[in-house]
């Protein structure tokens, strides 16, 4: 299965700068599993990095619109050519009103965009993983991967398996708590955390003072100890007062959701992460404190730490989390043998996921879940867990769902979308409808397993495949 090319867009809006990436891609079958996947065609269009337009603290709607149009034009893409997209909104742009305005602007141009707004550190860790490390994680099935997104103020930790984030955490470990004059260690500014750290280490220093080499080493040693403890699951360093003060969101490696998992491999992102990867690729280290902070030194210490460097992997893009990476991570393709007798029903936008039913659900639970969908004027979505592909289980559950639909007198025109993790979409749909005899607008999309999403966007079918994006954080509950 190889489909005609489509265009996908990735947008990044930050406090200072914004940029866009537009790539031509097509959906095709994974060569081994036959599972559909996105494959890029050729080099993407990358916009220049521009200053994010603000009027005061508010984004400048008109100039944003001009920017969007300019990027599409430069990539020879009409808005209607864009089959999907993702946007990462961070910093000042992520403030509530700005984020809403930006989302509206983007949606107006690119209907199916997945928009992620990083307004808390946990989400930043999630986005960093999805934007940088998810592809690497998916490519190493079953292997835990811990991404450390180390920037100026924080280190955001996200542990994932198979491209899905399992846990997040955040430490106040970063390059810019201590700002210095480029080329020297003369302090120009100290954050509150830096003041506490220096005090805790017995270092008396304030802006204008020059840090001695052993003082720099002590600061970095503290940071490295926290990072090493986080990645090895060692709790002790976080139990001191100083250690506790450097924790924003606790990160507990153990107990992991699957205790039999091997120790995680590591990847890095963020400014410090990029510096580490540049060194690994043989680039010379920038001169001392070139960037006016301790980032270069922190990167060097990470490389010198056997704990941090021995299991370090290099993700795509050398640790730069991107909206395009996010797009790839949040957009899934359905299996190619789905149950979709009426493809013209698609696309369906922002369909709510009302709950989950499984082979062990009672008839009452199945009724309740379907009744929720029935009450929605736009129809809705349920996830279905079959616990395997036992033929009997599919037939039995299909028959029970079909019976419940009849009992509820489910409206024939109301869309009901079932999302199934296993490759049984056509079989389940066939058993539910008695091979099309039950008058119901049923869509069964298989090989999709949303873990945390509340809403789903279902794109148009391209060759036998449907692109599906999930958004809205929060766990869909089992019907009860």
């Amino acid at each position: 299965m190889v489909t005609p090319p489509v265009k996908l867009i990735g947008l990044d809006f930050g406090t200072t700068t914004s940029k866009a990436l537009i790539v031509e891609a097509r959906y095709r079958s994974d060569p081994l599993s036959g599972r559909p996947e996105i494959q890029e065609l050729g080099a993407p269009y990358r916009s220049d990095i521009v200053f994010t337009p603000f009027i005061g603290d508010r984004i400048d709607d008109a100039r944003i619109r001009t920017l969007l149009d300019g990027w599409l034009a430069a990539a020879s893409a009409r808005p209607e050519d864009i089959a999907g997209g993702g946007a990462i909104i961070t910093g000042l742009c992520a403030r509530r009103s700005n984020a809403a305005d930006l989302a509206a602007l983007i949606r107006a141009r690119i209907g199916g965009a997945v928009i992620a707004t990083a307004d808390d550190p946990g989400l930043e860790a999630f986005l960093a993983f999805m934007g940088s490390a998810a592809a690497l994680s998916r490519a190493r099935p079953g292997v835990p991967l811990l991404n450390l997104d180390i920037g100026g103020g924080t280190s955001n930790l996200a542990l994932g398996v198979d491209g899905e984030v399992l846990q997040v955490g955040c430490l106040f470990v970063g390059a810019r708590h201590i700002e210095v004059e480029p080329g020297s260690y003369r302090i120009t500014a100290l954050s509150g955390h830096a003041l506490r750290l220096l005090a805790g280490l017995g270092i008396s220093a304030r802006p204008g003072d020059r840090l001695a080499p052993e003082q720099v080493a002590a600061v970095l040693a503290f940071y490295i100890e926290l990072l090493e403890a986080a990645v090895t699951g060692r709790e002790a360093p976080f139990q001191s007062e100083l250690g506790r003060s450097h924790v924003d969101i606790p990160f507990h490696l153990a107990p992991a959701p699957a205790p039999d998992l091997a120790p995680p491999w590591l990847s890095l992102s963020g400014g410090v992460g990029e510096l580490v990867y540049q060194r690994l690729q043989g680039h010379a280290s920038p001169a001392t404190t070139t960037f006016g902070d301790l980032g270069i030194d922190l990167a060097a210490r990470i490389l010198a730490s056997p704990v941090l460097s021995a299991r370090l992997l290099v993700p795509e893009g050398g640790g730069r989390a991107t909206s395009y990476g996010l797009l790839r991570s949040l957009t899934r393709l359905s299996g190619s043998t789905l149950y979709l007798p009426q493809p013209e029903l698609l696309p369906l936008s922002d369909l709510a996921i009302f709950g989950r039913i499984s082979a062990t659900s009672t008839d009452e639970q199945i009724h309740a879940a379907l009744a929720l969908v029935r009450r929605s004027a736009r129809g809705g979505c349920l996830t279905v867990s079959l616990a395997g592909r036992a033929p009997g289980a599919v037939k039995a559950l299909g028959g029970r769902i079909g019976q419940a639909l009849q009992d509820l007198d489910f409206p024939a025109s109301l869309p009901l979308v079932l999302l199934v993790p296993d490759n049984v979409g056509k079989a389940l749909g066939a058993y539910i409808t008695g091979w099309g005899r039950l008058p119901v607008t049923l869509i069964v999309l298989d090989e999709l397993a949303p873990k945390t999403a509340r809403f789903v966007q279902i794109g148009r079918m391209v060759e036998q495949v449907v692109p599906v994006s999930f958004h809205g954080m929060g766990q869909a509950e089992e019907a009860s």
């Binding site: 060569p31 690497l136 490519a139 033929p391 979409g425 056509k426 005899r437």
Partner: protein, 717 residues
């Protein structure tokens, strides 16, 4: 560029009636009617010759044939061109007469026995000089008189170096053709396999892909991709995508980098024309096009690449009564017309119907190598096997040891010996390097220089070339671990890159062998009727194959019903019939039917499609659906059949569904049309889902009264 002599200017003697060759063997008269029969009987007994009735019945008869051959003069062979069934000299035979007539005149009166003695006393240059005066038939006859030592010794004296971008076949070298085949031409898989091969010093002969999809668009994309990989790595070699010659020429027309032009060839015109869709005229034009517009024009001295191997003519039933060795030699006589850069012999590829076991494969490879070199060809060898033959990796390795001693120019580098697209087993880059180390050979000079600079190879303290510190470091070519992981994820049967010396590390070899063992078991496994009857009642049928060996050795038997089964079947009202057969993997049937059959029956019933009681046939082949459809009067036969196992244990349980549509009497076009749903197993299309897919497809077939391409064009015009 070589001048191509017009076919009309190549003189060939007029055909003569077959004559009777008789010889007295210890008082017993042994007779052979015609040269074809004599040539066939003089060869070793091989499966293909036995099926064709060409093999000698006894050792005495074989030696009698050899004695007779040895007594014939070269002039005798010259004067009796082998003809088609219609008594004609075909194009291939005519090209074989494009020889150096001065040399021939010098040796025409020698008997074949005398010629063999003369060659054994000659040096390599003389061997090549005499070879230029021989037709393929003469080379084949000669090789039938040679024992293994003689085949190795004579070939080892002959050197046939060529040059495209780099030089191939220089004395002291052993090169490899890197074959990064992928079942879906996935560029990531291709990339990984190219990186891996280069990381172990392979690929100096060629980077060459057998495409899964032979379209101009796809082949062009593969050519451009190989070109990018070659430029990115800097590896000095040449590239090729082994599509049909017409496809490659169309790619060249569109600007794709066609550096070396490939085509499979055969030793009879009917095979060339009907099966390979080529002719001498087409290849002449292709040769001239490459000389004028090929990507290496002005740089390459040779730019054609041919693939051959014993048995293709026989498999297609177009051997014209000529034995496999002789048709192979005729193919070489054809190849040399276009002065190829490389010739690749893949004897063993077809299966047990041509070469049953290790001996047959090994001796055929030695014969082919010798004949090719004697006729002046740059021979690369690919002693290979499929898992439904009795050829093993040990036999393959013995063949490569002998062929290396005989001076083969190159082998294939198929990662871990497992071809991911063609479901057969070839030599690997590990094998190439192992043979280099055993036989004191080196890669081609250009690639060696590159590999030294890349520390893939190094010089030891004595100046000798050894594996270097980066030998086997595939990661070096990737920008990130993510990239490498992505490439690995896209590539089947990559069981590890760990090495021990030039070999795969033992843990890697063990996994490879386990997968092969599982696949062999899938082939050997007998259909378990009782367990299948437990799913649903089945009607048993018998094919014309009376045993597993007969089934594997002769594909035509499994396509026919036994007389008793044929007689037992009568026309039924059911529109749809379900036929189950083992094909080449009974395991596939056992694994998939319990989930597939119930939903298939449920679905057909729910859709009110009249279906008969399913039929079960042991030792069946795909075409068995045709007599079943005809006999029962079914419009559609759903034939569920086990696929040929490859190097992946999971895929060894892979089932295919051939949906046959029997067209109405009198409709134009083929009587039977097929839609195929393949790769049915838990790792591919799960059997439960496959059942639902099949119901939907059968509905479409009946609605549109078509299957295959015709159905697709009606459903999606």
């Amino acid at each position: 560029m070589k001048d191509l002599r017009p076919l009309s200017e190549i003189p060939a003697p007029a055909p003569r009636p077959d004559e009777l060759y008789t010889i007295d063997v210890f008082g017993e008269q042994v007779a052979f009617r015609g040269l074809k029969r004599l040539l066939g009987a003089a060869d070793h007994s091989k499966a293909g010759e036995r099926h064709a009735g060409l093999a000698a019945a006894t050792e005495r008869e074989r030696e009698a044939a050899r004695c007779t051959l040895a007594s014939l003069t070269l002039q005798h062979l010259f004067d009796r061109p082998l003809t088609t069934a219609a008594g004609q000299i075909d194009e291939v035979m005519r090209v074989n007469y494009d020889i150096d007539l001065e040399v021939f005149a010098e040796i025409a009166d020698l008997t074949l026995g005398e010629l063999k003695n003369r060659l054994l006393r000659a040096n390599g240059r003389e061997l090549l000089r005499i070879g230029a005066g021989l037709t393929g038939v003469m080379a084949a006859a000669l090789c039938k008189l040679c024992d293994v030592h003689e085949l190795v010794l004579l070939a080892s004296r002959i050197s046939c170096p060529t040059r495209a971008r780099t030089r191939l076949g220089a004395p002291g070298t052993l090169s490899s053709r890197l074959q990064p085949n992928h079942p879906t031409d996935d560029l990531r898989g291709v990339t990984l396999l190219v990186y891996w091969g280069l990381s172990i010093g392979a690929g100096d002969a060629l980077l060459g892909i057998n495409p899964a999809i032979d379209t101009v668009e796809n082949v062009s994309a593969l050519l451009h991709h190989l070109d990018r990989l070659r430029r990115k790595t800097g590896a000095p070699t040449q590239i090729c995508v082994l599509a049909h010659v017409k496809t490659q020429l169309a790619c060249l027309e569109r600007g794709a980098p066609v550096e070396v032009l490939f085509q499979s060839l055969a030793g009879t015109e009917t095979t060339l024309r009907d099966e390979f869709d080529v002719s001498v005229d087409l290849l002449d034009r292709a040769y001239r096009t490459m000389a004028e517009r090929g990507a290496l024009k002005g740089e390459a001295e040779q730019f054609m690449y041919f693939e051959t191997g014993q048995g293709s003519e026989l498999t297609y039933g177009k051997h014209e009564g000529i034995d496999m060795t002789t048709t192979e030699a005729l193919c070489y006589g054809l190849c040399r017309r276009w002065d190829p850069f490389m010739v690749n012999n893949v004897t063993g590829f077809i299966g047990p119907e041509t070469h049953l076991d290790n001996f047959e494969m090994i001796v055929s490879n030695l014969q082919d190598h010798f004949m090719g070199k004697l006729l002046g060809l740059p021979m690369g060898m690919a002693p290979c096997y499929t898992l439904h033959s009795k050829i093993s990796i040990e036999g393959q390795q013995i063949a490569t040891q002998l062929l290396t001693a005989a001076g083969a120019n190159y082998y294939m580098d198929v990662c871990l010996g497992t071809d991911r697209m063609l479901a057969y087993f070839d030599t690997s880059g590990h094998d190439d390097q192992t043979l280099r180390e055993i036989h004191g050979k080196l890669p081609g000079a250009e690639l060696l220089a590159w590999a030294l600079a890349m520390h893939i190879f190094a010089r030891d303290e004595h100046g000798a070339i050894v594996r270097g510190p980066r030998w086997g470091d595939v990661r070096r070519f990737c920008d990130s671990d993510a990239e490498l992981a992505e490439l690995i994820k896209a590539t089947p049967a990559v069981h590890g890159f760990a090495t021990a010396g030039p070999r795969p590390a033992d843990e890697v070899s063990r996994v490879v062998r386990l997968h092969q063992a599982a696949a062999r078991e899938a082939v050997a496994c007998e259909l378990g009727e009782d367990q299948l009857q437990a799913i649903t009642p089945l009607r048993s049928l018998h094919t014309a194959a009376s045993s597993k060996d007969a089934h594997l050795g002769d594909p035509s038997l499994g396509a026919r019903l036994s007389a008793a089964s044929l007689a037992a079947l009568e026309t039924e009202p059911a529109t749809v019939q379900i036929l189950i057969s083992d094909g080449l993997s009974a395991e596939a049937v056992h694994h998939n039917l319990p989930a597939l059959l119930p939903i298939l029956i449920d679905g057909l019933a729910a859709c009110a499609m009249p279906v008969g009681v399913p039929l079960l046939a042991r030792y069946g082949r795909v075409k068995l659906a045709e007599p079943v459809a005809e006999r029962l009067g079914a419009r559609v036969v759903i034939h569920l059949i086990g696929e040929r196992p490859g190097g992946d244990a999971l895929a060894s349980c892979s089932l295919s569904a051939y949906l046959l549509y029997r067209r109405e009497d009198g409709e134009p076009g083929p009587r039977h049309e097929y839609t195929v749903i393949s790769n049915i197993h838990e790792g591919g299309l799960p059997p439960l889902e496959a059942g639902a897919v099949l119901v939907e497809k059968v509905r479409q077939i009946l609605e549109h009264r078509a299957a295959g391409n015709r159905l697709e064009s009606l459903v999606d015009p």
